[in-house]
């Protein structure tokens, strides 16, 4: 099999699901013939036609609401946010309408909202966001954020097939930087299951998305320079969280670092810390510590962005501290 990029993995999943199921369609700004700002949907309109790959007005409320309505009627819409940052515009309709549809009204609302997320690409404060925390806070939504090609592909398949709304965060830093093969067979990756990205026994790093790669880089350095055996758990699914996998790694290594690119206060690391504290307090040999971005709107200049976002070197420094505790 040939290697493809993370972005191609997503595109391939869209392609496969649209081919498999005629009720799947895409809607978003500039996603048709143009293929989207990042070309994720390139080729889809040519293959499936304008009616299934719909260029929309600049209306995030409109397209999310329309997706919900179509989903009620049996369609399976995939909504693109041109940048995930603009999901903020649809916060009301996503958290109030979509998330509650099944519970309050027994309305099925199977839909995916996807878009390029995250920083490390000099996108500035409005093209680099990680808004996942605001959505894992909302019962009724599922949230995934893959870090590998196989997961990008496999989670998109599961997201489209899921009976509820799944927010699918794509890390734009990874779009073309990482390559991998797709597994043989269907390749769907279940939502709600974490992945051990690297086995280890001295310390667990729990993370997701781009910082999985920062953590792996740090883990190698720690092994090389400190002889530390670091386990890296890639959450993949943020809602629901894989409590079992989190518990397993914590009880194995007894030391935890939670790493994410999102800002610190109110980020998911807090939730993970609380769950570990509740379930595995007795297993902890050190405080659960967090490596995150600063609580600052992400600035644009490379010197500033790199300072505000967590880097592999930060993970190394923090891991040494936790290991030495």
């Amino acid at each position: 099999m040939t290697e493809i990029t993370y972005l191609e993995g997503i595109r391939q999943a869209l392609f496969d699901e649209m081919e498999r199921d005629p009720s799947v369609f895409c809607i978003g700004e500039d996603i048709g013939a143009f293929g989207g700002a990042f070309k994720v949907t390139e080729g889809l309109a040519a293959k499936f036609g304008d009616e299934r790959v719909i260029d929309s007005p600049i209306s995030e409320i409109g397209i999310v609401g329309a997706a919900a309505g179509a989903a009620h009627m049996g369609m399976r819409p995939v909504v693109e946010m041109q940048f995930i940052d603009f999901i903020a515009n649809a916060y009301d309709i996503l958290t109030n309408y979509v998330a509650t549809a099944r519970y309050r009204a027994f309305l099925p609302c199977p839909m995916v909202v996807r878009g390029p997320s995250g920083g490390y690409v000099r996108g500035g404060p409005f093209h680099s966001q990680n808004p996942e925390a605001g959505f894992i806070h909302t019962p009724g939504l599922k949230v995934v954020y893959p870090s590998t090609v196989a997961d990008a592909y496999g989670l998109m398949k599961s997201a489209i097939r899921d009976e509820d709304c799944v927010l699918f965060f794509e890390h734009k830093y990874l779009y073309r930087r990482i390559k991998g093969e797709l597994p043989a067979g269907d390749g769907a990756v279940p939502i709600g299951k974490a992945r051990i990205a690297r086995e280890g026994k001295d310390l667990s790093i729990i993370t997701y998305a781009a910082t999985v790669w920062k953590a792996l880089e740090a883990a190698e350095q720690l092994e090389r320079e400190d002889g530390l055996s670091v386990e890296v758990l890639d959450l993949r699914s943020l809602a629901p969280l894989d409590d079992e996998a989190i518990q397993a790694t914590v009880r194995k290594t007894n030391r935890v670092l939670v790493v994410h690119e999102d800002t610190r206060t109110g980020g998911i690391a807090g939730e993970i810390t609380a769950r570990i504290s509740e379930s595995s307090f007795a297993w902890l040999d050190a405080p659960i510590m967090r490596v995150t971005a600063h609580d600052i709107p992400l600035p644009y200049a490379p010197q500033l962005e790199d300072f505000v976002l967590p880097q592999a070197s930060d993970v190394v420094r923090a891991a040494r501290w936790v290991a030495a505790y």
Binding site: P57, I93, Y103, F106
Partner: protein, 390 residues
């Protein structure tokens, strides 16, 4: 804010049937084609709406209604006449003044009573308030509180009709106040561009809670918004049920034949407050009385039935009796309905997992309910007495 309304000002003038546009002319009105049964049915639905709401008021006063109570007094023609223009397979999304439309679409008084009383066997099993419920099979979708959101949702419902080549139409109601929301704007614009088979009904009932329309928009009339979306705009006297039917039917036919969206403004008047507690202190003296005396949609249609459509009083009165009986019967059953079981609340946030597990600090079933308080959330309180206003 220089612009002011006189007590019986221009607003009331807007109710003459002649304000209907593009539907006048020599051609027969769609309502001319209704059967005698259908014409009486329109009366039945309006009467059922009013009687059922009056029953709810009685239950509210007995504190059997858990939350607020929302009336459509004076707007029954608007809700009933418009929804009557839909086929069974069409989908409608009501707002808080559209109980009449829901009844036309098959919602039952029993469901509505149970829902208002937060019963365990109500359509939402006690999860949602008042008439916030729906049923896809009968063709109506339950609203949520954030105003405007149903417009993009119905854009999507009707987009699916178009994509699948189904011969179905959608209809969404929006209040004059809710036209100010971003959701309304994005939804109708998207539907218009996509030529979705959707009718958008703006209910110009002159108020949004306490806010008169002139504080809501500087537009001279709501129908002026149509051109900005590139869709036809129609306007009708919302208190004339046949006029409402006519204008909506025209829009529905337009949608069904592939013409896309129509914005229909129905001019009417909200005679009760925003909710039952609201004392309408902000309404100019005499305004409500004027509408009650001169422009009640039921009174008007009662006269039309007799004077223009040739119905005898002996044909109309049994309808009133039938409605009373139906509401009585439903009330009796609804009052017996059990409250929801607490644990039922854990089911169905997601399809998978199908239920939440009880929290760690809870053991077994609990009965934490100490008293059945009315939602303060809905109340306008009298500050001095600390009591809720009437």
């Amino acid at each position: 804010m220089a612009r002011r309304q006189t007590a019986d000002g221009g607003r009331q003038g807007t109710t003459t049937p002649d304000r209907r546009r593009r539907t006048t002319g020599a051609a027969p009105r769609p309502s001319d084609l209704l059967t005698r049964e259908q014409k009486l049915e329109l009366y039945y639905w309006m009467r059922l709406t009013r009687t059922l709401e009056e029953r709810l008021v009685a239950l509210y006063r007995q504190t059997k209604v858990v939350g607020g109570l929302f009336r459509s007094l004076g707007q029954e023609a608007d809700a009933v006449g418009s929804c009557f223009a839909l086929e069974r397979r069409d989908i409608m999304s009501p707002l808080i003044r559209n109980m009449g439309a829901m009844l036309v679409k098959g919602a039952t008084p029993l469901e509505i009573l149970r829902q208002y009383m937060a019963k365990g066997d109500s359509p939402t099993r006690g999860r949602e308030l008042n008439i916030h419920f729906g049923d896809l099979d009968r063709g109506f979708i339950g609203q949520i509180s954030p105003l405007g959101d149903m417009v993009p949702v119905m854009a999507g419902v009707t987009l699916s009709f178009k994509m699948r080549g189904q011969d179905r139409v959608g209809l969404v109601y929006v209040g004059d106040g809710a036209t100010s929301t971003g959701a309304f704007h994005e939804g109708i614009n998207l539907a218009a561009v996509q030529k979705c088979p959707l009718v958008v009904i703006v209910e110009s009932n002159q108020y949004a809670y306490s806010t008169p329309t002139w504080k809501q928009t500087a537009a001279k009339q709501m129908v002026d918004k149509a051109a900005g979306y590139g869709v036809p705009g129609l306007q009708a006297d919302g208190n004339d049920v046949l006029a409402v039917y006519d204008v909506t039917k025209t829009a529905v036919d337009h949608a069904r034949s592939g013409g896309g969206v129509t914005l229909v403004e129905l001019v009417t008047y909200r005679r009760k407050g925003h909710a039952e507690h609201d004392n309408q202190s902000y309404v100019p003296d005499g305004e409500i009385e004027w509408w009650a005396a001169n422009n009640d949609p039921l009174d008007r249609y009662h006269r039309v039935l007799q004077e223009q459509l040739g119905f005898a009083l002996s044909e109309i009165e049994p309808v009133d009796a039938r409605v009373r009986d139906e509401v009585d019967a439903a009330t009796e059953i609804a009052e017996q309905s059990p409250p929801p079981e607490p644990h039922d609340g854990l089911i169905g946030v997601y399809a998978d997992p199908p239920a939440e597990t009880p929290l760690w600090f809870r053991e077994g079933t609990r009965a934490a309910v100490e008293r059945n308080e009315r939602a303060e959330g809905w109340g306008t309180w009298d500050v001095k007495s600390g009591e809720k206003g009437a």
